[in-house]
């Protein structure tokens, strides 16, 4: 009895039918002639074990428990007069369900054996074509817009060309790293020396993007730790940075 219980503890069943099939095969009994008395007892043993372990149990298990008890009681009752051929084994419906379920369980096993068979084939992904028509309505162009855009591009190109050669060498020879920490000190010194400063002036003479980013992060950091105060000035159309400690 003890060992029986132990083996139960290790098994998780997909449902009451799964559990019953397990019991039937374990007891090596004929599925068409289930010893309902002992199977029911073992079924309840399992439910109790599960309860001991405080595991979640689906209500389906209880429905089946009730069904088993019903069949058991029906079989215990003496049959009244056997009228004709319509005497049906109370277990028949359950047996049919079990057979059904068992057949599908076997098929699931077949599918399981093929689960990775498709892995050796690679299929191309279907290309996504967009067949919806493009909207060409409401298009209006102005020649001067186009010339403007063109001169814009040309002038930018020239500037780039001028600086490109120098820049290219710069990036090879030096790669300055700007630390937020250094910037905090820089900003502090600057504001102490010059008083309130406009936000945009904080970025004067900065050539590299990374330096701007470090400065910006430093400002955020300082505001967070109230080393800096920020105010918006409508007159200057910009933020003004002030020493946070001054304004107590």
């Amino acid at each position: 009895m003890e060992t029986e219980k132990l083996s139960f503890k290790l098994d998780i069943f997909e449902g009451p039918l799964d559990l019953l099939l397990h019991l039937i095969s374990k007891n090596k009994v004929d599925i068409y002639d289930i010893p309902i008395e002992s199977i029911t007892r073992q079924y309840f043993d399992y439910l109790n074990t599960v309860k001991e372990f405080d595991m979640e149990l689906g209500s389906e298990f209880l429905v089946m428990a009730a069904q088993l008890l019903y069949i058991k009681s029906k079989m215990l009752l003496p049959q009244e007069k056997i009228e004709s051929e319509d005497k049906v084994d109370p277990r028949a419906e359950l047996v049919a369900k079990l057979l059904d379920y068992k057949a599908y369980k076997d098929l699931a096993g077949f599918l399981r054996s093929k689960e990775t068979d498709g892995d050796v084939f690679y299929y191309r992904n279907k290309e996504k074509f967009d067949f919806s028509s493009l909207d060409y309505d409401n298009q209006s162009f102005n020649l001067s817009e186009l010339t403007h855009a063109f001169y814009d591009v040309i002038s930018r190109k020239k500037e780039e060309e001028k600086t490109n050669n120098v820049e290219a060498l710069k990036t090879i020879t030096k790669r300055l790293a700007y630390s937020v920490n250094d910037k905090v000190y820089e900003i502090k010194e600057r504001i102490e020396a010059n008083g309130p400063t406009l936000f945009r002036h904080m970025f004067d003479n900065m050539e590299e993007k990374s330096e701007c980013i470090a400065t910006f992060l430093a400002i955020l950091e300082m505001v967070k730790s109230s080393l800096l105060q920020i105010e918006y000035s409508y007159q200057d159309m910009d933020f003004i940075l002030k020493d946070g400690a001054n304004n107590e």
Partner: protein
């Protein structure tokens, strides 16, 4: 005649390459103006040519159509390029549910639950998520329940060329006579 036959082969090759999906026999026969049987024959010829040359690609039958894919023997060389497939194995519940749907499609969730004897919401959702089954309509019954069927992706990932290739249900003969509420299974 030979030239025309070659043309049809080449066109079919082009279609299957471009589609990158299952192309049904019907679509092919309509476009090419030949019979379904001729479509199958032509595909057979192409398959033969590819197989003989051990070409990198091949044509597989998937459901009621065909699709191009790579030859399995080159799998280990493709894998490092494309990357390892990360596939989670299906849970026993999902696999049981898939088996039931595969054999009885189209089928409602409650019919699946009737066979399994347990709630199957999670399993059905997982299969939908994996694209192994799909919603194919609604049953004309109270509540208009959704009907599910397996997809081409199911055939591809289990390397099954059609639903007919799945072995028949191994139901033991019922000595005591069938009982009401039995599922409809094709015993043949």
């Amino acid at each position: 005649m030979v030239r025309i036959m070659n043309d049809i082969q080449n066109i079919m090759e082009a279609i299957l390459f471009a589609a990158a999906d299952v192309v049904s026999t019907k679509e092919l026969s309509q476009v090419l103006g030949i019979s379904d049987l001729q479509v199958c024959e032509t595909v057979g010829e192409l398959q033969h040519i590819y197989d003989d040359g051990k070409r990198g690609f091949q044509i597989l039958k998937i459901g009621d159509g065909f699709q191009m894919c790579t030859r399995e023997m080159y799998y280990e060389y493709i894998r490092p390029i494309i990357g390892e497939r990360r596939k989670k194995m299906l849970s026993p519940a999902a696999m049981e549910t898939l088996a039931i749907i595969a054999y009885n499609q189209p089928i409602t969730k409650s019919a699946v639950e009737h066979v399994r004897g347990v709630n199957s919401d999670g399993a059905v959702n997982k299969l939908l998520e994996r694209g192994l089954i799909e919603d194919v309509g609604r049953l004309d019954a109270p509540g208009k329940p959704i009907l599910y069927a397996t997809t081409n992706e199911f055939l591809r990932s289990f390397a099954i060329d059609s639903l007919d290739a799945i072995p028949k249900l191994s139901l033991e003969p019922m000595e005591k006579g069938p009982v009401d509420g039995q599922m409809k299974v094709d015993f043949e």
